[in-house]
């Protein structure tokens, strides 16, 4: 069974911009965490191009995935330090595999495929823009670490292969035949169905997931607007700087004061760039939870699918049982078409016997199926609720951390503002 996370961690979620730098990963450690024995990092994005079959040059970015063994290694799950190149589509494949293979787990999300919610509208969503690549790199590393610290996912063989098997990893994934499993479920997912007895807990979780998505996406939208606005305001102050500087040219006694005050206005205007970039990091962390909400909802959907299967089979069973009853008692309950035909059809005792036997067989089959389904559902529900609980705890920790850091950043911004204006005030006083 999946082990729960310890709650005694000191979380530090601040992603480092420099992938090579070590960071405090205490929050990722757990009893079963892979990270007890290995260190994983994603770094050094590089551009590659190959000639596709049509003869067109296909350019993409690869990331270096390095695995290093720590001294405390005892399990030997990972044999040797490795480093290999992976591109985004391979990460995607890994995740799709995990989602199908571990349906009851809230699988960590990937960073977005292309920049959806950007704060600088005029910045093109260029997948080769260095900033975008860097943020994606951070997101991919985070993804790796989340999987490695998950009690169940970290044990997955394909995941290990992702870290270590350079060649033909993709083929190995396909060989597991996970796609077949996903297809059959996928059909049901698209159909809109009504459950007779929807599981209340999962309904609640699903509603929560929807709410979380709405809340975070609203927050991010407005934050973007605010960032844009704040950027504009700071840059306008740069105009002050220019005017003061020009004005100081014609003033005799006020000249120096104006000149230095103008300098501070310029400082104010340029300070916003770095601060907003920092804020972007927190936006990215919130985005992760936006996508997590999606993962949560998909777990709920899977439960619904299983439940639907179960209910369908139960219906099937009860229908067959009713048929048998009808056949045995030779009575139709109420008016039915069968009953009418019966009046006109003579049932020989042999055929009745044969039919009964058939029915009983199929009933036994159906009972088996129902039992299987029930068990499937129970196991799933149990698994899922446990992982949802784990996710919940992780979410609370992480969100708290995110908001604390956000507040610290705002304080920093305000302090910088105060400093600049106090300096400017001094210059004015000296005029």
């Amino acid at each position: 069974m999946a082990a729960d996370h310890d709650d005694t961690f000191v979380p530090d979620l601040l992603p480092e911009r420099n992938g090579g730098q070590r960071r405090d990963l205490s929050q990722y450690f757990g009893r079963a965490s892979l990270l007890n024995s290995v260190e994983i990092c994603v770094s050094e994005p590089e551009k590659r191009s190959i000639l596709s079959s049509v003869g067109i040059k296909d350019t993409y970015t690869v990331y270096l995935v390095e695995t290093r063994i720590k001294e405390t290694s005892s399990k030997g799950i990972v044999d040797a330090p490795t480093s290999l190149w992976r591109r985004y589509s391979e990460f995607e494949l890994l995740r799709n595999y995990l989602v199908v293979t571990h349906p009851a787990i809230v699988v960590p999300p990937l960073p977005e495929k292309r920049g959806i919610i950007q704060w600088q509208e005029f910045k093109t969503t260029d997948n080769f823009d260095p900033d975008f690549i860097e943020r994606r790199r951070v997101g991919l590393e985070n993804f790796m670490l989340r999987i490695a610290s998950h009690p169940q996912l970290s044990q997955d063989k394909i995941f290990h292969a992702f870290l270590q098997q350079e060649d033909n990893w993709k083929e190995s994934v396909y060989e597991t035949g996970f796609q077949a499993k996903s297809d059959s479920r996928l059909k049901n997912l698209n159909a809109s169905f009504r459950l007779k007895k929807p599981d209340r807990q999962f309904e609640e979780v699903r509603n929560y997931g929807t709410d979380l998505q709405t809340n975070i996406s609203n927050l991010l939208k407005i934050r973007n607007k605010l960032a844009d606005r704040l950027y504009g305001i700071h840059k306008i102050h740069g105009n002050y700087g220019r005017v003061f500087s020009e004005w100081s040219g014609i003033e005799k006694k006020m000249g120096d004061g104006l000149q230095s005050a103008g300098h501070y206005m310029d400082v104010y205007a340029s300070s916003i760039d770095g601060l907003l970039e920092e804020e972007e990091q927190y936006a990215d962390q919130l985005k992760e939870y936006l996508f997590y909400a999606d993962a949560l909802r998909s777990v709920c959907r899977k439960q619904e699918v299983l439940q639907y299967e179960l209910e369908r089979q139960e219906e099937n069973l009860s229908h067959k049982v009713k048929q048998k009853e009808e056949l045995q008692t030779g009575q139709a309950s109420g008016f039915s078409f069968k009953g009418v035909t019966k009046l006109f059809k003579t049932e020989t005792p042999e055929s009745k016997e044969a039919k009964l036997k058939q029915l009983e067989e199929s009933i036994t089959e159906a009972e088996e199926e129902v039992k299987k389904s029930q068990e499937e559902v129970t196991v799933f529900v149990d698994h899922a609720l446990k992982d949802i609980e784990r996710f919940r705890k992780q979410k609370v920790r992480d969100l708290r951390e995110i908001f604390i850091n956000y507040a610290i950043l705002q304080i920093k911004m305000a302090k910088k503002g105060v400093a600049v204006w106090s300096n400017a005030k001094e210059c004015f006083q000296k005029m």
Partner: protein, 431 residues
């Protein structure tokens, strides 16, 4: 024509206030202060900082640390205590009241209270109600009748911002500006004796309306400005100090204009930012609804953002009320200086023209004198016309000399005023 006199600054000094008091508000009594100043005092003024800090005693300086309030009740009463002995005319503006006019238009009147010991006034006290239009009339009359003086500016006719014309903040700001306007005129050694001013302070409603109807029409004012524009081109020689003054004022008003625009833009953007903050806070409140452990956190974030919003709103309002009006005032001052300089130019042009005229006449006279004897001998009939001619010449000469001396007087007077203007400008620089 190069009569440059710096020593005539002291003329017209009525009030015996010196700069021994460190507590004066350049915005309250700029003209009085400017007139009394000589170069040494200048240094003192300019080294003082603009805004309230320079006008407070050291005790109140600490009390007001961080806030720039250009008008403070404390300093006004302090000033008045010192002025009590030397000022004989006190004017205050207060109590704005809204009235509905004919045809549904509404307007505001202010109470104008006058206390004086001057003999020119029949009563020691007057109380009248005036509206903005009346102030405009007064200012135009002053400009007409005292073209060589710098008339204090009026607050703007229309407010550009969201203030509507009847909001209490707008009325208060306008009232303060009108108060300053009248006080400056009252303290001015020359302007305060202007008859239009007296009428404004004392006349009943019907009297004022009658006086207003008597003004010169628009066309004469247009004629003035056309003349002024033409003058700048026709000017032959202008003493360098006026050129410098003109250039300085031009650049000054340009820079101030830019500052004004930048400030307005910042205020506008800030207001948008404030509005967007208003959208930000509810997101957190709504989110707190979906969370259990984090509910409190979310609510705290929401409250915090609300507080930020209020703070920025306060900042924005103060910027509008305290920073913008003085900037605009100085723009208007710069404009009046420019027009005075232009008038000076046009007078100089006329002076030059008349000089040319007079020298032409002188030449003609010489011509006539020379040709006279030949004429008188040859013809008898010619004598009389010659006599008439001579008389004419004599009259012309006299007229020319009179005009010349009159103009020279005016020029002297003008130069006095312009020197005063220059002092005023520098005094304002200190602010």
């Amino acid at each position: 024509m190069a009569e440059v006199e710096d020593s005539t600054k002291d003329s017209g000094r009525v009030q015996g206030e010196g700069l021994d008091t460190q507590q004066y508000d350049p915005l309250q009594n700029p003209l009085t202060e400017g007139l009394s100043v000589n170069d040494d005092d200048f240094e003192e003024e300019d080294l003082r900082s603009p805004g309230a800090d320079s006008n407070m005693s050291n005790a109140s300086q600490t009390a007001l640390a961080g806030s720039i309030k250009l008008e403070d009740q404390e300093e006004e009463t302090e000033e008045e205590d010192q002025d009590m002995e030397t000022r004989d005319l006190f004017v205050t503006v207060d109590d704005p009241e809204k009235h509905s006019g004919s045809m549904g238009s509404a307007y505001v009147t202010y109470r104008v209270v006058t206390k004086t010991t001057r003999g020119a006034f029949d009563n020691p006290e007057y109380l009248v109600r005036r509206r903005y239009q009346d102030f405009l009339w007064l200012r135009n009359k002053l400009e007409e009748t005292q073209p060589t003086h710098l008339i204090p500016p009026l607050p703007e006719k229309h407010s550009l911002r969201r203030f509507d014309h009847f909001s209490p903040e707008f009325l208060k700001t306008r009232q303060k500006a009108l108060n300053k306007f009248l006080t400056r005129i009252a303290d001015h050694p020359v302007l305060s004796f202007n008859s239009a001013f007296q009428i404004f302070l004392t006349a009943k409603a019907w009297e004022l309306t009658a006086h207003k109807k008597q003004g010169p029409g628009i066309f004469s004012r247009m004629g003035d400005s056309v003349r002024n524009v033409a003058a700048t081109y026709m000017l032959k020689g202008r003493s360098p100090e006026y050129t410098m003054m003109g250039e300085y004022v031009g650049t000054f008003s340009e820079k101030l204009g830019t500052i004004n625009r930048v400030s307005e833009r910042i205020i506008k953007e800030n207001q948008e930012y404030i509005n967007e903050l208003g959208e930000y806070s509810p997101v957190f409140s709504l989110w707190s609804n979906s969370e259990i452990e984090l509910a409190e956190t979310m609510t705290c974030m929401a409250n915090c953002i609300e507080k930020c919003q209020e703070a920025v709103q306060e900042l924005n309002d103060e910027q509008e009320q305290y920073f913008l009006p003085p900037v605009r005032e100085y723009l208007l001052y710069a404009d009046s200086i420019k027009s005075v300089l232009k008038k000076r130019d046009s007078i100089q042009v006329e002076y030059e023209l008349s000089q040319e005229e007079s020298s032409k006449r002188k030449n003609e006279r010489e011509q006539v004198k020379i040709s006279d004897p030949s004429y008188s001998i040859s013809s008898i009939t010619g004598k009389r016309p010659d006599e008439i001619k001579e008389q004419k010449m004599a009259k012309l000469e006299r007229a020319i000399e009179e005009t010349l001396s009159a103009w020279e007087e005016v020029i002297q007077h003008l130069q006095k005023e312009n020197a005063e203007c220059a002092n005023d400008t520098e005094a304002k620089d200190a602010e």
